[in-house]
Symmetry: C2
Subunit: 246 residues, 2 copies
């Protein structure tokens, strides 16, 4: 009982697309069996036999799917359905930012613009949807930032959690993951701006303003706070641009 149905089962008449066949074969296997993230896939050997391809071809195909988080490989353990996250977007965009970052920082600029656009456009739904527990958590994160800033420590993770929490009331996984992805891209690319000393206390204060606006359920105030939140990074980008022009 073959696990796969290959268009060219055993006989390999024409070639030039072996790996592609393997890729669609694995994809179809997952779809056909309605597998969920974490479910086990056949071993490499079984895949080879089922599709009729060599280990190398299967491995390269698996590596491709692994890069897209469609498949996840655990060394010495087995192959499983991946988390279907947006890590590929992060990898791709971050590299783009690093590559063009040395010249101009327009990728970083655009990422910031997208982040601001999303938070701006969802401000109304955010203020309307946040429950009391989420508001408390937002305030707690903001005060945590202030305390870290007072100690001179950075608070990258708090910042990440804060912006993620803002999107939680929407109940849209995709928006949450996009938020996380763009945040991560910015975190990776921003350091290429040079020794930019982000004023920790100012940053913390801006997040307090965000939390307060959200707590007041004041959409207008939240939009203003969002704009202000991204002003410092925008300024750093412009400064880096100006420094390059000189």
């Amino acid at each position: 009982m073959p696990v796969f149905e290959t268009t060219t089962p055993p006989a390999n008449g024409r070639s030039g697309a072996r790996r592609q066949e393997v890729i669609v074969g694995i994809k179809e296997y997952i779809l056909r069996n309605q597998l969920k993230p974490g479910d086990p896939l056949p071993t490499e050997s079984e895949l080879c036999e089922a599709i009729g391809a060599s280990r190398s071809s299967v491995r390269e195909a698996v590596k491709t799917l692994s890069a897209l988080d469609i498949v996840e490989v655990r060394h010495g353990h087995g192959t499983y359905v991946g988390g279907l996250s947006l890590t590929a977007l992060v990898e791709s965009l971050a590299f783009r930012g690093l590559l063009s970052g040395e010249a101009d920082h327009h990728v970083l600029e655009q990422v910031v613009e997208v982040r601001e656009t999303i938070e701006q456009g969802l401000a109304a739904q955010i203020t309307a949807g946040l429950d009391d527990g989420q508001l408390d958590a937002l305030r707690a994160l903001a005060t945590g930032m202030c305390e870290s800033a007072a100690r001179g420590e950075d608070f990258l993770d708090l910042d990440r959690q804060f912006h993620l929490l803002l999107m939680e009331p929407l109940g849209n996984d995709l928006i949450e993951q996009l938020t996380a992805a763009f945040w991560e891209v910015q975190a990776i690319v921003a350091p290429t701006l040079g020794q930019s000393p982000p004023d920790l206390r100012e940053t913390a204060r801006l997040h307090v303003a965000l939390a307060e606006a959200a707590a007041a359920r004041d959409t207008q105030a939240l939009q203003v706070a969002v704009t202000n939140h991204y002003l410092p990074i925008r300024g750093l980008i412009q400064a880096a641009k100006a420094a390059k022009a000189s």
Copy 2:
């Protein structure tokens, strides 16, 4: 003169991360030499020699980078820097949609929501930024849709161009590419809704309304038109959900 500086140049003391080293090696090579999309990379043999890895390992690493469009391979020709597009996002999201699509269509629902949010949030900048030539092009696309609809033909490409053109005045490549990516994901996943007959003439009419609102530089009207534009697909999704519940 070695092209790469490998932490473990020739000696392979420990293993378990060979391919990862190759990946970062290739990435660093591109970054160090400030290569742009389309620029040639060393051949596989040269990469093997430079990094000190076997050809299989190099190939698997290249396949990973190829999936992210960081590298592009042309059979019998060579390896080049990739277009750094968002194809990885499309692949990943589309597969997610297809996988969960059979059960519920919440991925498709969220993609539609993201598209609408973006167009909604940028409506003001769109009406303000469109020049006369772009407005003419928008109207031409809309009338083209009407004509196609009258002939009973679909107009997928016109639709794609329309939504892409809407974002052009922003001058933000990332937003344009995200728009194209989400459009494509929807185009791939939507057919799983079942034999849903999208009313061509109604769809064309909705785009005429979009073009008119944009031409009038009426942000409010554009936002209404955007909402209306996504109502049919939202309805289809709800219908599919209801059909499943029964």
